[in-house]
Amino acid sequence: MSGAQEAALAAQKKDIRSRWLLSAPALLIIFCAAVGPLFVMLFYSFMAKGDYGDVKFGEFSLDGWTSVLFQRDIFDDTLGLADAHLSIIWRSLQLSFFTTLFTLILGFPTAYFIATRPQHTREVWVFLVTIPFWTNLLIRAFAMQQVIRNEGLLNNALLWLGIIKQPLQIMYTDTANLLGMTYVYLPLMVLPLYASIEKLDFRLVEAGYDLYATRFQVLWRIVIPLVKPGLIAGSILVFIPSLGAYVIPRVLGGGKNMMLGNLIEMQFGSGRNWPLGAAMSITLMALVMIALIFYVKNASRGGAGHA
């Protein structure tokens, strides 16, 4: 009896050991080329900055962290708020928020429309949403440039229609960033929304109509609360990459309309301030984590409400 139990326990232990062995390569690669470097970066953020990039080892300093938000005045050495950094952080938050909002405005009706098509056509629609999603990010940013540049499609069309006399300067503005990000991240909003609307029980909608609800009331008080998990998932999926956007502001925003990602890059390039860059990266990661925690909390609550 106990012998059999021992044997079973030993087999189980052996199973778990072989499972660790099997997963070792994946865990090792990710640790060495993704997670580990983050810890090194955390360490770097507390070092003094080197003269030509890099850091001075063993020389502890909080300058990296304080200069995320503050700067020392070059004349009287007093600490003041780093306006440039603050304005870029603020721009990143604002642009990410509006990107989320715009993708929601376009994405929700689209997801709803697709989810209410017959089964076989649905697949085709979803497939059509996925294709741009798998297209290289840089190419999509570049494609957006073809539309909004001064001699681009949009300006040519508006000039031809006689709506404007002068081409609109959209490239290298915040509007360009916003259009680019909305374009690029739209599928990330549509797909999770679609997944949750598809599961919606339309008998509840019917019940709403039977109780004399208007279309708007049904949408607002029945559909939206029921698809809330998908709504939050989509918003998070759009908000997080928007906050860390690097390629789109670089291609469409030009040098003036930087976002956090470009500011971080600058510290490792011409800025030669690695501790500051490291501290900013960790700040960005912290912002993302806050968004994720918010998501997890809301999603679990939403899930519990359904069950």
Binding site: T130, E265, G277, L292
Partner: protein, 267 residues
Amino acid sequence: MRRSRFDIRAQPGFGFITLFTFFALYLPIAALVIYSFNGAESLSRWGGFSTRWFAAAWQNDAVQDAAIRSLVIATWAALIATVAATMAALATTRTRPYRGLTFKYALINQPLMVPEIVTAVALLIVFSRVKVWTGYSGLGYLIAAHTAFCIPFAYLPIRARLESMDLTLERAAADLYASSWQAFRYVTLPLLRPAIIAGFMLAFVISLDDVVITEFVKSGGQDTLPTYMLGQLRRETSPEINAIATVFLALSTALVVIFFFINRKKQ
């Protein structure tokens, strides 16, 4: 209850917004492709239909090098990532929860959680030092970095497939005195093959598409196609870039379409 007076599922205006969305999704891509056939020297005016920029890109040594490098990196990264992800998927599915399982999930999915730019600069910090220490500055760093962020993508379809597979067939094999290796080789692996191919293709496309991490990890002269294009965009854009982008676009679309059909056949 059969059909009511009106379609309860329809919402007014939604169809219109959907059409607009699809128009907006495809218009920029269409513009890119159309401008790539522009015969003029610059993008500012239309100089008639021409394929000259495709020919120019084809003969450009820098483009050829970058394209080959992209393919080499993507092949290695996707290959290693798929093998590692398959093993990891076998280790994390069809089991009772054990200590460390959640840790494994978290670690495997970690590259998806952190903004790319953050991973990129962290890798820059570490690899720049390793390059000095070891004196090695080949493609290994890029392949390692790409493998890491490809693993979760390869892992996803393989894990999903394993979860939906029941253990009966493997048990039957064991009853017929197959060793655990034989059961894996002749039962599990063939059943898993479509998911492994799908995982490989996803990883391949993801690696091929990467801009940010490559840009920070690469040493001098190690441009991939996307970083080459990014570098060119700083200057006056010529229709040649459009031509390169169009070919790239066609290639990744083809891969995604194949991926879609493999996945569909599986169901």
